[in-house]
Structure formats: structure tokens, C-alpha cells
């Protein structure tokens, strides 16, 4: 209900939940989810620190799915439903963003910042594709699976190359 758009001349009350004609965003979690889904990853994570409601909504898989799809180049248009179940099985969109897409985007942004001195051949590749992100994600998920006899497992490290080193500049 897009009642927010109605013009109103009454004085604004703070947090007026009884809102006769005010519809604070906190009243409508789905609307909140729609809005949050249009943020970038970092902002969304920050938004989760506002209040409990925002934290809960900000953790919804659907929200993070929207964020992921917004920031990666999707190769195939179809099989969205299939993607959802596979990603859920591997750990979810929020995790996917946190482990793979976010660091990858940061890395690429960092490279772009370093200047236009990049070779033309690789300039076309300066974006993350969903398939690549999912491949890396699946490898990480595989690494985290425990061994049979509960042997000492190496900590998963296949995504370490995306980690940002300490900034010494």
C-alpha cells in the first residue's frame, strides 16, 4: 500500500505507529525489504545495525539475493529457481556476498582505482560473473565439509586470495 505518497499536512509525529495517515517504514517489513534490496552490500550490512527490525529484514535471503543479482553479471537468464536452491544449499546469498562477491567487487574496484594503466585485453574482464562467484563459493563450501573420521581439517583457504591485505599506503 503506497499510502506514503498521499499528501498530508498534519504535523509529523516521531515513530507514530498508530499513524492515521503516516506510514512509517517500520510498519511494513516487505516494503522495507524492497528498499533495502536496492542497496549495495556494505550499506545493507550497515543498515542491519539500525534496529532489530532492520537487522531481521536485512538478513532475509531475498534481500541479499536482490543485492547479489544487482551487482553481478548474470550469464544465463533462466533457471532462477534452480539457482536459488543451489545457493541455499551452499550457504545462502548473504554468505555468498560476504565471502565471494563482496571481496571480488572490492578487489576489482581497487584495481580500477590504480589507474587506467590496465591492459585492454583484461579490461573487458573487470566484472564478476555469477558463475565464477558460484564456482568459488562451491569450492569454499566443499572445503568446510568435515572429514569422515573427524580428522584435523585445514581451515578453508581457497578464498584467501580475495582477502584484502593490510593497507600500508
Amino acid at each position: 500500500m503506497m499510502m506514503l505518497l498521499l499528501p498530508h499536512r498534519e504535523e509529523e509525529e516521531e515513530g507514530g505507529a498508530a499513524g492515521r495517515r503516516r506510514f512509517p517504514i517500520n510498519d511494513n517489513a516487505d516494503l522495507l525489504a524492497e528498499v533495502l534490496g536496492r542497496l549495495d552490500g556494505r550499506s545493507l550490512a550497515v543498515a542491519g545495525c539500525v534496529c532489530r527490525l532492520w537487522s531481521a529484514v536485512g538478513r532475509r535471503e531475498a534481500v541479499w539475493e536482490a543485492v547479489c543479482h544487482r551487482h553481478v553479471a548474470v550469464g544465463r537468464a533462466g533457471a532462477a529457481g534452480g539457482t536459488r536452491s543451489v545457493v541455499a544449499a551452499l550457504g545462502g546469498y548473504r554468505r555468498l556476498y560476504r565471502l565471494c562477491i563482496g571481496p571480488a567487487l572490492d578487489r576489482l574496484a581497487g584495481v580500477r582505482r590504480q589507474g587506467p594503466a590496465v591492459s585492454s585485453s583484461s579490461s573487458a574482464a573487470r566484472h564478476v560473473s555469477l558463475s565464477l562467484a558460484l564456482s568459488l563459493f562451491s569450492i569454499d563450501c566443499y572445503e568446510r565439509l568435515g572429514g569422515v573420521g573427524g580428522r584435523q581439517q585445514q581451515p578453508p583457504a581457497s578464498l584467501l586470495f580475495l582477502c584484502k591485505p593490510v593497507d600500508v599506503s
Binding site: 543451489v86 562451491s138 566443499y142 584467501l160
Partner: protein, 611 residues
């Protein structure tokens, strides 16, 4: 501390001519050094000295002998040196030293270099001992004040000059010439001893060097050149079975390597160790147990993009070959930790049309301990497949060599064929850096390729190191591997601009393990022979020939694989140094201009299919 560059046309130009990066201490592959083969050491030639690289060890020895001879009869000879007028051309150092030695050993007064040679020397080098070197100060061979002479001072005081040096009435200029040399490099093998005085310093210094006392070198670029020269000379010495010279050179290499930084130091260190093993005929590295090797291998996987590149490009080829098939079977010649397959499973799960039923046959070496690595990997992959909804079956085979596998073992058991729907299964064979190990045994690789063909695969993906480490002669293999591993270590060094960036502790550990992994390979290539030498890398061209002979024809890896590889490389910190290139349908990943690993795909050739 002022450096004095006496002349323009000095060493500063030579490294540029050799194409080295300036001041980074990095090893750059030098295509031709002119060493050994054409005879004359290029650097010294630029200085006006003709010394053959193969003679350098001898020259070093002779200088040492000269020093001994001169220091033993100190008092008697020097005045004679001062007044003699016999001139020998010191540009042919070797002969000059011979003549010096003859005359020192006999009581005749020996030569003084001519004034023209002195002028020559103004372009030359003398050995310098940096005053920073505490070892020099502690050494007893040279008088302590000698190090003072080599301080970074424009002009040595006559008082200092007179101590421990030959007193020269005739040529005070030589002292001045000597001084600007101070700040310069070390020449352990060469000497521009144009005057008898510095000769003593030179020889005494050399004696220190051959006693393997480390000396601080100011210009690492220079020692870099020297290091490469020493390595190549040592390789040649080993080739010629001149083990004494090789021995001396190996010690030198160790000393020089200690003053390098970064990748050059590591490469030199590993090669020095491998050469030492070969020279002293230590037993080759004991076959480390599989757990340790897998451990190193997995760290190499984490720290460098090569294996990820290999897996991703091979997976893309397999994925495309399996399009439309409902039952697929992948045979992996070297399963190790199974890191290649999660990504393929995920891609198959998401392909349009839904996932096929997937069977994986993994081949691995027998375990020394009781753990069953292969089954564990199978179990993990099964769990992953269950999670993402793929019908998955796993079978493991233990085989100490791929040649022991027969095709019947791998094909589907007869009875089960009718049970499943969807018709015959499509087979893919995958080999990542496994085939080159078979070259140690004659006939093995042909047998394995025959086995692969007998499976009638839709596609066979082969990933191999792009290098020629299987040449006929030791020297060929040695120089090739020197270039290859220099590039490889360069690429692992984490900073794009040569300075090691800050790394997370874990990343550093991974890199150290990766270095050890490569070090083992180096040891195998250099120190082992015969059946022990399993790292017999060959170039893509040679593998193409072998595959063609075995009845395969090439399949072009598509643009998807190329794009994905580029995207993957873009994510690596030192991204711009890596290059993905396409060569006749095969993809290679390299560091700058040097390809280091190559992926190719094959299917059964039309002619062979008829059989």
C-alpha cells in the same frame, strides 16, 4: 656515503643491456647470456678483460694462489715489484695470472702493469670491501686499516694507503683510481688488479670470499648478474663433470644468494641446494609420504592461480562437452583433494535442463598410512552433491602408477548398463599435471593414452606445465628450469611492483609451502636422474604430437573458458602480471611474456574412431 662513479660507460650500462629490472633484486630470465657458449664473459669484456666464463673458477683459484705466494714472501718481493718494468697485458686475466704465478714462485721479480693497463683499470673494477662489513673488520687476513681504505671517501689518505699496500713511487695515480671503486660491487671472480698493491687486497679479499665469509654488497643488481652467471657456470661445470669447479661455484652461489631479496633469493637457494645434492651425490630427496605432498600441493593451490586456472578451464571444456547428456562419467587421473569437482558439480546443477547423473572415478597413489584419502574425498563430494541435488556416485582407484590401470577397470560394469535410463554415459578424462610423470618409464605414457582412448571419451582435458625440462642434456634442462622457476617464483611474489605487500599471516604460510612445493620440483629436475626424475615437463607442442600419435584430435577451448579465466585472474592481487593467452585452441597462463601452464582439450580423432 657518497658513491663515486668514475666513468660513464660502466657497469651501470651492462645490466640494462641485459634487460634486468633495476634495483629490484628480481631474477629476470636472460635468454642469452653469452656465457660459456661464446666463451667470453660479457661484463668483463665491457671492462676490457677477456675472461672465459668457464675459466672463472680457475681464475679465482689462481688469484688465491697468488695471494698465498705473495703474503708468504712479503718482504723480499715487493721492492722488486716496484722497480720492474716487464709489461704483460692484464686484459687476458687468465694468462696474466699464470705469468704472475710463475714469477712469484720463482725468485725473479715479476711484472708491473703498464700505464696503459692502468688507464684501462680506470674502467675496471677492483674488489671492494664495504666498510659496513663487520666480518671484514674481524677477519685477520686483511689488515684492519685496509677496510678503511675502502671507506666511502673520495681520496684515501696516503697514510692509510701505505699500510699493507705496496709503496709505489712511480704511480700515485693508481691509488686515486682505486678509491672511487670503494662503493662498488664485489667481483669475486674477476680482478682488475692493475697494480701490485691492490692485488694484495684483491687476493686477500678473494681468500676471504673463498672462505665463504659473507661481505656486504651494496649493489644487489650487480650481484644478481653475478649470481646468474655463477649458476649457469655451475650448471656447465656439472655438465662437463668438472665437479671441483662446480663445488666452488656452488659455495659462491650460496654466498651471493644470501644478499638477494625476494624471489631471486629463493630460486638461487633452491637451485644451489639441488646442485649440491647432485654434486655430492646425496641420495635424492626421500619420497615424502603422500600426506606431506598433498599438503604442499594444496598450499600451492591456495597461493597461486595456476591450479585454479587449470581446473576452471578444464571444467568449462567438460561442461560444454557434456551438454545434453543425462549420464556423465568423469575419470580423474589425479584426484588429490578433489578441488576441481565442486565447481563442476555446481555448474552442472545449474545448467539449463537440470543436472545429469554424475559418476566420478578418482585415481590416486596408495597411502602409506592407514587413512583412506580417496574415500574421504569421495565422501565429501557425495555430501556436497546431495546438498545441491545431483545424483552422484564415486569410485576410487589406488595405483602407484597410471600405467597400471586397465580400461576394463574403469568402464561401467556390464550388468548395470540396462538399469539406468538415458542411454550410454558420456565419459570425460581429466589429467592435471599427471602425464609428465609417466615419461620416466618408456612406453608408459603411450599405454595410458591408449587406456584413455579405450574409454571412448567425449573429451579429454590435459593440463601440463609449459616448459621443456626433459631435454637430452643436463645443461639444457638446467637452464630451462632456471628460467621457468624464476618466472614462477616471480609470479608468486605477492607485490605487483616488486615490493612484498603486507600479507595476511595465513597467506604467507601458504606461500612458504608453495615455495617448498616448487623447491621439491626443482630438486627433482636438477638432482635426480633416471626413474627418480619424475618432473619431466614438456612443452605444449610436444604434448600435441603425443596426443596426435595416440589418436586424439584437438578441441578448441571456447571463448567462455577464456573469459572466465580472465575474470579469475582479474581477482588476483598481482593481476596485471598474469597473462591468459590462446594458442591454437589451447589456453595458457603465464607471467608477463612467459607461459607457465597450458590447458588443452582433445577428443578421439575421426581416423581413430573408425577402428
Amino acid at each position: 656515503m657518497k658513491r663515486q662513479h668514475e666513468d660513464a660507460g660502466r657497469e651501470g650500462d651492462c645490466p640494462v643491456a641485459m634487460g634486468l629490472e633495476t634495483g629490484k633484486g628480481k631474477m629476470v630470465p636472460m635468454m642469452t647470456t653469452g656465457d660459456g657458449e661464446c666463451g667470453v664473459d660479457e661484463l668483463l669484456a665491457a671492462l676490457g678483460y677477456k675472461v672465459r666464463a668457464s675459466d672463472m673458477a680457475d681464475v679465482a683459484h689462481k688469484l688465491e694462489q697468488l695471494d698465498v705466494a705473495m703474503s708468504s714472501d712479503d718482504a723480499s718481493h715487493f721492492p722488486q715489484f716496484a722497480s720492474d718494468t716487464v709489461h704483460y697485458d692484464p686484459s687476458d686475466l687468465s694468462t696474466w695470472l699464470d705469468s704472475m704465478l710463475c714469477e712469484v714462485n720463482s725468485p725473479l721479480p715479476t711484472l708491473l702493469p703498464s700505464p696503459t693497463a692502468t688507464a684501462h683499470c680506470s674502467n675496471g673494477h677492483s674488489l671492494s670491501i664495504s666498510s659496513n662489513s663487520t666480518v671484514t673488520k674481524d677477519s685477520t687476513a686483511a689488515p684492519p686499516s685496509a677496510s678503511g681504505v675502502y671507506d666511502f671517501e673520495p681520496v684515501p689518505s696516503p697514510a692509510a694507503a701505505s699500510v699493507g699496500r705496496v709503496v709505489y713511487e712511480t704511480d700515485p695515480q693508481s691509488e686515486k683510481i682505486l678509491s672511487p671503486r670503494d662503493s662498488k660491487r664485489i667481483r669475486t671472480c674477476s680482478s682488475s688488479s692493475s697494480s701490485g698493491g691492490p692485488t694484495k687486497e684483491v687476493a686477500s679479499f678473494l681468500k676471504q670470499a673463498t672462505a665463504a665469509l659473507p661481505v656486504v654488497v651494496v649493489d644487489t643488481q650487480e650481484t644478481g648478474i653475478r649470481l646468474v652467471h655463477a649458476l649457469l657456470a655451475c650448471g656447465e661445470a656439472v655438465q662437463q663433470e668438472n665437479l671441483n669447479a662446480a663445488d666452488a661455484l656452488v659455495k659462491q652461489i650460496s654466498v651471493l644468494a644470501a644478499f638477494q631479496r625476494g624471489p631471486m633469493r629463493k630460486v638461487a637457494g633452491y637451485f644451489a641446494e639441488a646442485l649440491a645434492r647432485r654434486i655430492y651425490r646425496h641420495n635424492p630427496l626421500p619420497q615424502a609420504d603422500r600426506v606431506a605432498l598433498d599438503f604442499l600441493h594444496s598450499h600451492f593451490y591456495e597461493s597461486a592461480p595456476y591450479l585454479k586456472f587449470a581446473h576452471f578451464t578444464a571444467n568449462q571444456a567438460i561442461l560444454e562437452a557434456f551438454a545434453g547428456c543425462h549420464r556423465v562419467h568423469v575419470v580423474d587421473f589425479g584426484l588429490k583433494q578433489g578441488m576441481q569437482w565442486p565447481a563442476l558439480l555446481q555448474a552442472l546443477a545449474l545448467r539449463p535442463g537440470g543436472p545429469p547423473s554424475f559418476r566420478l572415478t578418482g585415481i590416486g597413489p596408495p597411502q602409506t598410512d592407514n587413512s583412506d584419502e580417496l574415500q574421504e574425498v569421495g565422501w565429501k563430494l557425495t555430501m556436497l552433491s546431495e546438498n545441491i541435488g545431483i545424483d552422484f556416485h564415486f569410485r576410487g582407484f589406488l595405483a602407484s602408477s597410471l600405467a597400471d590401470i586397465e580400461p576394463q577397470m574403469l568402464l561401467e560394469p556390464e550388468g548395470k548398463k540396462g538399469e539406468r535410463d538415458g542411454g550410454d554415459e558420456a565419459v570425460a578424462v581429466n589429467s592435471v599435471m599427471e602425464l609428465h610423470q609417466l615419461l620416466a618409464r618408456p612406453g608408459a605414457v603411450e599405454k595410458v593414452l591408449g587406456t584413455a582412448r579405450a574409454l571412448r571419451p567425449r573429451i579429454m582435458t590435459v593440463v601440463e606445465e609449459e616448459a621443456n625440462h626433459n631435454g637430452r642434456t643436463f645443461l639444457e634442462r638446467f637452464t630451462e628450469s632456471l628460467h621457468y622457476y624464476s618466472s614462477m617464483f616471480d609470479s608468486l611474489d605477492n607485490g605487483a611492483n616488486g615490493e612484498a605487500e603486507e600479507e595476511i599471516e595465513e597467506q604467507r604460510r601458504h606461500r612458504e609451502m608453495a615455495d617448498a612445493y616448487l623447491g621439491r620440483q626443482i630438486c627433482n629436475v636438477v638432482a635426480s636422474e633416471g626413474m627418480d626424475r619424475t618432473e619431466r615437463h614438456e612443452t605444449l607442442g610436444r604434448w600435441r604430437e603425443r596426443m596426435a600419435q595416440a589418436g586424439f584430435e584437438p578441441v578448441h577451448l571456447g571463448s567462455n573458458a577464456f573469459k572466465q579465466a580472465n575474470m579469475l585472474l582479474a581477482l588476483y592481487a598481482s593481476g596485471d602480471g598474469f597473462r591468459v593467452e590462446e594458442a591454437e585452441g589451447c589456453l595458457t597462463l603465464g607471467w608477463h611474456t612467459r607461459p607457465l601452464i597450458a590447458t588443452s582439450a582433445w577428443r578421439i580423432g575421426a581416423a581413430a574412431a573408425i577402428r
